[in-house]
Amino acid sequence: MSAEPSVEVIRGYLAAHFRAPDLALHDVERIAVGWSHETWLFDAAFTDADGPQRLGLCLRRDPGNALLRDLSSLRTQYEVLLCLDGTDVPSPHPYLYEEDASVLDGPFLVMAKVPGVCPSPWGREGRRFYTEAAARGVLPRSFTDALVAIHTLDWRAVGLDFLGVPGPGDDFARREIATWRTLISATGVEPDPVLTDVLGWLEANAPATERHTLVHGAYRTGNVLVHDDRVSAVLDWETQVIGDPMYDVAYVLSELNREGTDLLSNLVERDAFVRDYEAGTGFTIDVDVCGYYQVLYAMRSAAFWMSASGLYAEGRNTDLRLARTAWSIPVVLDQAAKALGY
């Protein structure tokens, strides 16, 4: 596990990068959520030819033991953010990516600190936040519109084809299964045979893809920043792919992302989402294909928890919350098994 970087080291690096020797950091805050890349927020104050400046910044560092292991790279995140900059997809402006692990004991990227909050939809306060926002009626539409912006982006024009473009037919689904098989293999743990059945079923029933768009890969509340009842930034660009937009739609429609409410992602009425999404994209939601992708998401969740508990078992991460996720694997396998009829 990487050591905590000192504020002075960050300050010195940014002072050199921005060629501002007087650069000072203010309001440094470590965001203590998630088990992925580590995040710090702060303001950088400095003077340049135009006078005093103050930049809100967000630094993300790869600790070397994040849950997605080799599946998630900060370099890719940075390159995706570069492509999205200036498009209709709300996203933070990326400033720099540093590959040299000797600077902060791991690669890191620095991007703009976007105004907004990101309540967790799993907690009581987060659920109340989204319930109240749903009642006001503005955020639900903004949530849908941000997904429409992702799916209608001309991804080739902005250079996102570097992510890899699936071939025709069922190639997208097969590539996605292969990707998550890689994570399962990386855990070094023998999968539960129900997971093997799920993987076999997914491969045998991979749907053909009608069209390819940018796909976020984990689009839900908790992965978007909210400011003034609007999505100010879509976050967590870790599992994005070029692929079937129904993959994102399936996740929005999934029961995985709502607890005790009929509101999708604790926020959006299903009928309103379907109406606004279809009108915004011109795509028709394919419920059967979404059902397939929901099984794929259950497989992903199992792989995710295998990775988490495996990191603890390997001694690469000492957080006991990771060890506890071993007992979450049967829960997601139960969802998948029920979807397959048993």
């Binding site: 999968p191 045998a204 006991l320 049967p330």
Partner: protein, 136 residues
């Protein structure tokens, strides 16, 4: 009389949850103490039911092997995997059977494949239900 292993784990979990955790000031460390309690309670439950679970698993596995061998063509990879499962109840042996089923799907034909998969899934559901007793 000494505590059984599962009772000892439950006792440790109780101490972490009721006495140690609440006394820890640092939020992260307190969360770790409570999480340790959760894990120990789950392990205690698994330990307490391990003999009964193992017996049930062995009975179900033996019945499954008989049923699969009755349905699968002799000499097929499915039959080979089922024979191996008779002596080895590890996840790897189960996975070999499931993987063989999908690999031989075309040669088995839809009817036999569906019959075999349905039977295997009954056994997988029973395994899963036992795991769910401790899951969350």
């Amino acid at each position: 009389m000494a505590l059984g292993a599962d009772e000892l784990l439950r006792s440790l979990a109780g101490a972490l949850r009721e006495r140690i955790g609440p006394a820890v000031g640092d939020p992260f460390a307190r969360t770790q103490a409570f999480m340790a309690a959760v894990i120990l309670e789950k392990l205690a439950g698994e330990l307490a039911h391990a003999p009964a679970d193992a017996a049930a698993a062995a009975t179900e596995r033996a019945a499954l092997v008989v049923d699969v061998l009755a349905l699968a063509p002799p000499g097929s990879a499915v039959a080979t995997a089922a024979t191996a499962l008779a002596d080895d109840g590890s996840d790897a042996a189960w996975n070999a059977l499931v993987a063989a089923l999908y690999a031989e799907r075309a040669t088995l034909g839809a009817g036999v494949f569906d019959g075999l998969l349905g039977r295997v899934r009954v056994a997988l559901r029973a395994r899963l239900d036992r795991a769910l007793a401790y899951a969350s």
